[in-house]
């Protein structure tokens, strides 16, 4: 039989090719395993607390590890309050940046400069924001609190949300910019041809067209804000007690889910305490994952159309 050397060569290459394809598949499967592993680990480790405390854990108002009483309500309130305050502060700014970079000034050095600066805001590590705010922002907030006549803690929900607001602006802004740039120009030109002013074009054409995309950007910002740990841990003041009036809650110290995990995880000395903390992590994981997935879904739907 004739031996075909070329065939041999291609056989060995075939072998390499299958190996290479398999490696690619395995690497992708690693992602699935990672996420499944994270989920299973969280559920298994928080089982003791899920079994004993049940669903009432989420609105139990007392967190007292010494007496083995666990309720996540103070942390849920703290997390939601800081995140939504930060979101409300950040939305006008991220909208303004999106409109400016997407519509008013999409090209040129000034717009590039602003775009890069906004990206740098996201690049600065959160611990540095926390450290800076602890020494500069907290005294400012304290003097403000003395002026309006509440207990001058300085640290607390107010300071944390201010810093958080700055940190989450870039996420909504960069997405919004690219979406506003995608608005078809015939629509805008049509509106201009009808005699609309620039403001009216933005108000009646650009913003309605990009509404769902901008909403997705806000959702992604919210996901960031909920999971943000270090800056908040430094600034929130860390008390698990919950104040009664809104004013005291907003200006006083509090705790978020992430910060309580960061602070107490290493102090946890018995199984219940431990698993109660991990259950907090599980809740946090669920909420951020769902918010992120909804946001991503909206974006893919939007960009495909």
């Amino acid at each position: 039989m004739l031996k075909n050397k070329r065939l041999d060569l291609s056989y060995s290459q075939m072998k390499w090719e299958t190996i290479f394809r398999r490696i690619l598949v395995i690497m992708s499967i690693i992602m699935l395993i990672l996420v499944a592993g994270i989920f299973i680990t969280l559920v298994v480790q928080s089982m003791p607390s899920i079994k004993t405390l049940g669903i009432g854990y989420l609105w139990g108002k007392v967190w007292d590890p010494v007496n083995n009483v666990y309720g996540a309500y103070p942390f849920l309130v703290g997390t939601l309050l800081t995140s939504f305050t930060a979101l409300i502060i950040s939305v006008p700014f991220s909208y303004a940046i999106s409109i400016y970079l997407g519509e008013y000034n999409p090209k040129g050095w000034l717009s590039n400069l602003l775009k890069n600066t906004i990206e740098l805001i996201a690049a600065v590590p959160s611990i540095i924001y926390g450290f800076w705010a602890l020494f500069i922002l907290v005294p400012v907030v304290r003097t403000f609190e003395i002026k309006i006549g509440v207990a001058p803690y300085g640290v607390g929900v107010c300071s944390a949300s201010l810093v958080l607001a700055v940190m989450i602006i870039p996420y909504a802004a960069s997405l919004g910019t690219s979406l506003i740039r995608m608005v078809p120009s015939p629509l805008k030109e049509g509106a201009y041809a009808l005699g609309a002013t620039r403001f009216e074009v933005i108000r009646r054409v650009v913003l309605p067209y990009t509404r769902s995309g901008l909403f997705a950007g806000i959702l992604l910002s919210l996901g960031r804000a909920l999971g943000e740990t270090m800056a908040v841990t430094v600034l929130i003041g860390n008390t698990s007690a919950i104040a009664h009036t809104f004013k005291e809650v907003f200006f006083g110290p509090g705790n978020t889910m992430a910060s309580v995990i960061a602070n107490e995880f290493q102090e946890a000395d018995h199984t219940m305490y431990f698993s109660a903390l991990i259950e907090l992590g599980l809740v946090l994981f669920f909420v951020t994952v769902i918010i992120n997935l909804i946001g991503k879904r909206i974006i893919t739907k939007y960009t495909n159309n």
Partner: protein
């Protein structure tokens, strides 16, 4: 099409409704509504004023009934804003003269533009303040001694951040070794097989991983590695690698999807085997994009503290043993920032300065690469 419908549905004649009453000043209407709320709306339009007052009274009644709470307060604020918008629009509609109306609309447009520009540029202020302050505080600390010595004991002056610097570099290098190959290969899979089920679920998982809060990653690694083997630098690296992977994967995928398919087809038609096409043609072509993704991910994880809290822990001494706890820059900033000693704060300012410079340089480097190769991420 949809937007065209929407536009046609907008009551375009709304602005040409001519009220029986005489012309009203928009500024006055705005200010009155701003100060007096629903009562101020009466100036612009009687009907709107009556409606808004009724809504406000209902809200006040609810507050009296249930006591003041957050929800009702928020509703009150929203009602107030609606009052202002109503008054503004109603007053705008009373302008009868065409020329004056056009002038008004132009002014409105200019005002809106300046407002937007103001808001957009105000955002850079906090960044500039933070940068300048960190540089001002940090530059004084940094010298050769600072970079080559371990921190002094508590309450003593001097010392440096050598342990954190070395630790950070080792931890980040190890996590890059883990994350970069996995990230690039699975990014290649995602871009090469966009339709398959595995790619769909894998992409979903990448999205999920990107959204996982960093503290949760720390908890997970605590159970996977720290509990069986003890606190170590390796566990910190794995935690950071998990944070790094999604960024590398996404940037690889995005870059490779941008390459023209004819590139791959040309190579395949020459008889080049698939793995060589990928490794010798596709990856080198998208190299700049992949590299910038890698650098960005390094810049992101070098400042992460939360995953290191329960994994790499911290260490006051210079150590290169990866099976033992190791200090890192962000962790050092966290511990020293919350400590009561001024000398430790100084160390933390210096460490912040170094960390910030690292991150900024990496970001600027990425910008230069992507500009030179002209690849958009």
């Amino acid at each position: 099409m949809d937007i065209a419908n929407q536009l046609s549905r907008q009551p375009s004649n709304r602005q040409t409704i001519v009220y029986a009453g005489k012309e009203k000043s928009v500024l006055a209407a705005f200010l009155l509504a701003l100060i007096f709320g629903p009562l101020g709306v009466f100036y612009a339009s009687i009907r709107g004023g009556i409606i808004m007052t009724l809504i406000c009274l209902a809200n006040v009644a609810l507050i009296v009934l249930f006591g003041s709470n957050l929800f009702l307060e928020i509703i009150a604020v929203i009602v107030w804003i609606i009052c202002i918008v109503n008054a503004y629009n109603a007053a705008k509609a009373t302008i009868k003269d065409m020329d004056r109306r056009i002038k008004f609309r132009n002014n409105e447009s200019v005002l809106y533009k300046s407002f937007i520009i103001f808001l957009a540029f105000v955002v850079t202020l906090p960044l500039i303040i933070v940068l300048l302050y960190i540089i001002k505080q940090g530059v004084l600390q940094v010298n050769w001694h600072f970079l080559t010595h371990v921190p002094a004991p508590e309450g003593e002056k001097g010392g440096g951040i050598a342990n954190a610097l070395v630790g950070s570099l080792i931890i980040v290098a190890m996590s890059s070794i883990v994350a970069i190959p996995i990230g690039i290969l699975s990014g290649i899979y995602l871009s090469e097989n966009p339709g398959t089920k595995l790619a769909y679920y894998s992409g979903l998982c990448v999205d999920i991983l990107q959204g996982v809060p960093s503290i949760v990653v720390g908890i997970i690694i605590y159970f996977w590695i720290v509990k069986p083997f003890g606190f170590s630098a390796v566990s910190g690296s794995v935690a950071l690698a998990i944070m790094m992977m999604p960024i590398v994967i996404r940037s690889t995928e995005q870059t490779l999807l941008l390459l023209p398919p004819s590139l791959k087809e040309a190579a395949l038609s020459l008889g080049v085997p698939y793995h060589r096409v990928i490794l010798k043609v596709i990856v080198p072509c998208g190299f700049a994009g992949i590299l910038s993704g890698i650098i960005l991910s390094i810049a992101r994880i070098i400042g992460e503290t939360a995953p290191l809290l329960f994994t790499a822990l911290g260490n006051n001494y210079l150590s290169a043993n990866i099976a033992k706890p190791m200090e890192s820059l962000p962790h050092m900033i966290y511990t020293y920032a919350t400590s009561p000693y001024d000398d430790q704060h100084d160390l933390a300012w210096g460490a912040s300065f170094i960390l910030l410079m690292f991150v900024l340089l990496l970001n600027i480097f990425t910008k230069l690469i992507t500009r030179k190769w002209n690849i958009q991420l």
